[in-house]
Symmetry: C2
Subunit: 255 residues, 2 copies
């Protein structure tokens, strides 16, 4: 899938199935903001101008801007225009924002920060999951593991299974706030496996790591789960950074 963020030639009405016009526009502008094409403080073009250029009504465009404002990316001021918000005010953990960020190749700092957060949350989450998991949680994780084994991390299905494993684990904590980090973790997971699958000659098999986490959770062993997950995250980070160092940087890429 190719990202096409240059709204100059964006045809909003092209074959869209589920996403409405405002959604398409919001995504487009959102991508440009998180990718740095629009920078904080910069003001977007006027509503009449932009909506005209995109051949959509002003109302539809305004709804798009509202979506972005709801995610903290922009702020509209009368007379002055719609201005891109400073980065600290962005709702970075919003699933859409997170997705937009990771449609481009994130820079090292971003990726490192995300792994730092995973490193804080996931080990404890694994411990909680070990204490609280129900049978359905185990089934979901087991199913994901099976999927990883079956399709491998090079395939889309395999990566989806990897994400599903972590999602099921976070859900198993029974903590709604923790569970709402799924989008963020998923983004990191995708990038990890994407890198390994694409650039690394011998991609280290992370399935055993996952299996150990699963076993500890299944065995209701919180501290074991914590340790196993700590190692998993550390190894995933190492794999990712190694791969990036080895192959240098591309301008952008799409998993």
């Amino acid at each position: 899938m190719t990202v096409k963020p240059l709204s100059a030639g964006l045809n909003v009405r092209a074959g869209r199935k589920t996403l409405r016009i405002p959604g398409v526009i919001a995504r487009d502008i959102g991508l440009q903001i998180v990718s740095g094409h629009y920078r904080p403080g910069e003001v977007l073009n006027g509503e009449i101008e932009t909506s005209g250029r995109l051949h959509v009504s002003r109302a539809a465009y305004r709804e798009a801007v509202r979506i972005l404002a709801a995610k903290g990316l922009v702020k509209a001021l009368r007379k002055v225009g719609t201005r891109v918000t400073p980065r600290e005010e962005w709702h970075l953990l919003d699933p859409d924002v997170m997705g937009w960020i990771f449609e481009f190749e994130p820079d090292d700092a971003t990726l490192a920060s995300l792994f730092e957060l995973r490193r804080m949350v996931e080990p404890e989450a694994a411990a909680l999951a070990a204490a609280r998991r129900g049978e359905e949680d185990l089934a979901a994780m087991a199913g994901a593991l099976k999927g990883m084994a079956r399709y491998g991390l090079e395939s889309k299905a395999g990566r989806a299974a990897d994400q599903a494993f972590h999602a099921a684990l976070l859900r198993a904590t029974g903590n709604a706030f923790v569970a709402s980090l799924i989008a963020g973790v998923g983004a990191a997971v995708t990038w990890t496996t994407f890198y390994k699958g694409t650039h690394s000659r011998q991609l280290r098999d992370s399935l055993p790591d996952h299996q150990r986490v699963y076993d500890a959770i299944a065995g209701q062993d919180p501290s074991g789960a914590r340790e196993a997950m700590t190692e998993l995250v550390d190894l995933a980070l190492r794999d990712t950074t190694d791969a990036r160092k080895r192959i240098g940087r591309k301008k952008r890429a799409t998993p």
Copy 2:
């Protein structure tokens, strides 16, 4: 400040300064959703009907719905209506959603979950802050401490200072994702101090806890900071739950 979520008699055009009509409506409906007045799966009334009842244009109402959809609270489907999303899909870490949740008295499970998350993140955040803090970070935290000491946790200013301390600490981590948890932590902090200040006879002074965290960060002592913060969060949780047990439950309250 009193929350007034019953949109039946909501006068959207009453003295609003900064918040536009869609914002007011979004907040109103958002409050009703997170408070359980509208339940997941339930469909909101039609756009024409509701916008008419509120005496606002359909466009304005639609923008409000878009805001809620951007936060994962609702999902609009043609012909079927705008339906409240299942709770797992809510963007709970969104600052607005978080704020709406904590405008009512959160139930025990919610508060416990939030403290669980703090317990995962803040100790490590303190450790990171100890390693990376700059002079401005220290100054911000020191200022917040001074504010806490000066105004006390019973006052609004004091609680704001408490929040500011935690916000400055999260910012000092240099991790943007961690920093975007400020809203969540702030909500928990407010409720902690609110409870203690309102209901507890002798409110335990948490200033020394904060001071120890600060000292460790100032002294660039990561593990010390981690320990101090762990204790701070544990004590805060204990204070809060103790206070709640002691006084039983009120239907709702507003800090």
